[in-house]
Symmetry: C2
Subunit: 271 residues, 2 copies
């Protein structure tokens, strides 16, 4: 169990730049909610699961995507976890990165890359997202493969890409990576088979997407700000219903959270 | 069963521009191989299956990716087919488009988009593919969602994107789409959840990838030059072995082909 119970109440002054030194902000005592509430108990258990390499399940919100994502901390992803996601999720397997770390490496939003290329490729002029039905912008960044991948798509290859990206994010986040951009291009090939998702700048203040919810959970677990996530699909052509996603998670002994529960604890944690 | 037996041997003079009017090249009598051979029988059955909306299975080659892809003709893809691919394949669900149609719409290789954006996004400078272990280039084009999608990732949404893209490719291919670029941007949003793959210029003369093999099968089936494909993964972290992929396909009553069989028939068909 991670140490979440707080003996001293404090907000975290580093939250505006939450991607900076992990060692700094883990020194702050962070939780004010009563750990006896159901929400706090579930969040505590979920953070412990993330730290030990287990998946957690996060449903965003009624009226938004209404999807549940399987979530792993990127650094601990093994090839069996990729298989777990594709067999029990079935959506895209994507890896998040906090805005701060993305900025240091130079990982752009894909939309910005496409805007830059509009002059040469007219197909990118009138096709970029302007009317997403549930949000104002897409979180997609570029796609990557680790250079030691063969095809890039096997579970072993995707796990290698994800875990090595997790290590890079950790090093950039704590400041032990001197040349983030150079380290990235040395380790990864673009385009690839793992989809990077870049969080919004102010994380859950800006956006309630799985990109932000899962990355916020990593931060609260004192893990590097990168999660690997996959949407759960149903057999009726639609996203798996919240009820069925919860049933599946609980039948496997895993924690199922809703976005508003993560938001609630995050607000306190981030001050 | 499609009419493949040939009474007049002829090469297809339009193959250098195989994406041009489908109605033109279907007038040519095309097969010289003896339809009694095993290969020809399998190819005939596979073309009939593609035309009737069933999947076929294509293994590329020993020493190449050594992967089997599930292949559907894009125009007939239903949401159950997307589920079939994610549950029995597990790789990325991608949609191919012939070089000729891609050129008319203006769909670039992703690598070329990234090259264009290098000046503004330095991360794209030293990360582009130069040392792919099994090929010289990546077939990835941009990712798309149909504008009527909600999240874009559900089986219903991906099937809508794929089938509508199939219709656009058909119209562009036969010349009934007056403004291919405008029709594309009106119907699709970028980036999305379906990965377009652009074939090499000379199709199987240039490259023996699943992008080319599956698109060549569509052409030989007299279908628009777009297939939707997904790699089959095993439970051991690697691609599903050729033996197990063949076993699965045959157990379901579907046709399993190897790249060299497609190549053999294609050489005759394309002259």
């Amino acid at each position: 169990m991670v140490e979440l119970a707080s003996t001293e109440v404090s907000s975290n002054p580093h939250i505006e730049d939450f991607s900076t030194n992990l060692f700094v902000y883990t020194n702050f005592l962070i939780f004010t909610l009563n750990p006896n509430t159901d929400t706090m108990g579930d969040i505590q258990a979920a953070l412990a699961d993330l730290k030990s390499g287990k998946p957690i399940f996060i449903y965003d919100a009624d009226g938004r995507e209404e999807e549940t994502d399987i979530v792993f901390a990127s650094g601990s992803v093994k090839h069996a976890d990729i298989r777990f996601m594709r067999q029990n999720g079935g959506g895209l397997i994507c890896t998040t990165v906090s805005d701060g770390v993305a900025e240091k490496i130079g990982l752009p939003f894909l939309v910005d890359v496409f805007k830059t290329a509009q002059a040469v490729h007219p197909v990118l002029r009138n096709s970029l997202p302007d009317t997403l039905p549930y949000d104002t912008k897409s979180a997609f960044s570029i796609t990557i493969n680790h250079r030691k991948c063969y095809t890039g798509i096997t579970d072993i290859d995707r796990a290698l890409t994800v875990a090595e990206f997790g290590n890079l994010v950790r090093d950039v986040d704590v400041g032990t990576c001197e040349y983030p951009l150079k380290s990235f291009t040395k380790a990864f090939r673009v385009p690839g088979h793992v989809f990077l998702l870049r969080t919004s700048k102010e994380l859950l203040k800006d956006r309630n997407g799985h990109t932000e919810l899962s990355t916020a959970m990593c931060l609260m677990a004192k893990l590097p700000p990168t999660a690997t996530i996959c949407e759960m699909m149903g057999n009726n052509g639609k996203a798996l219903s919240k009820t069925d996603a919860r049933k599946f998670a609980e039948s496997q002994g895993f924690i199922f959270l809703e976005g508003h529960e993560v938001q609630e604890v995050w607000k306190t944690w981030s001050g």
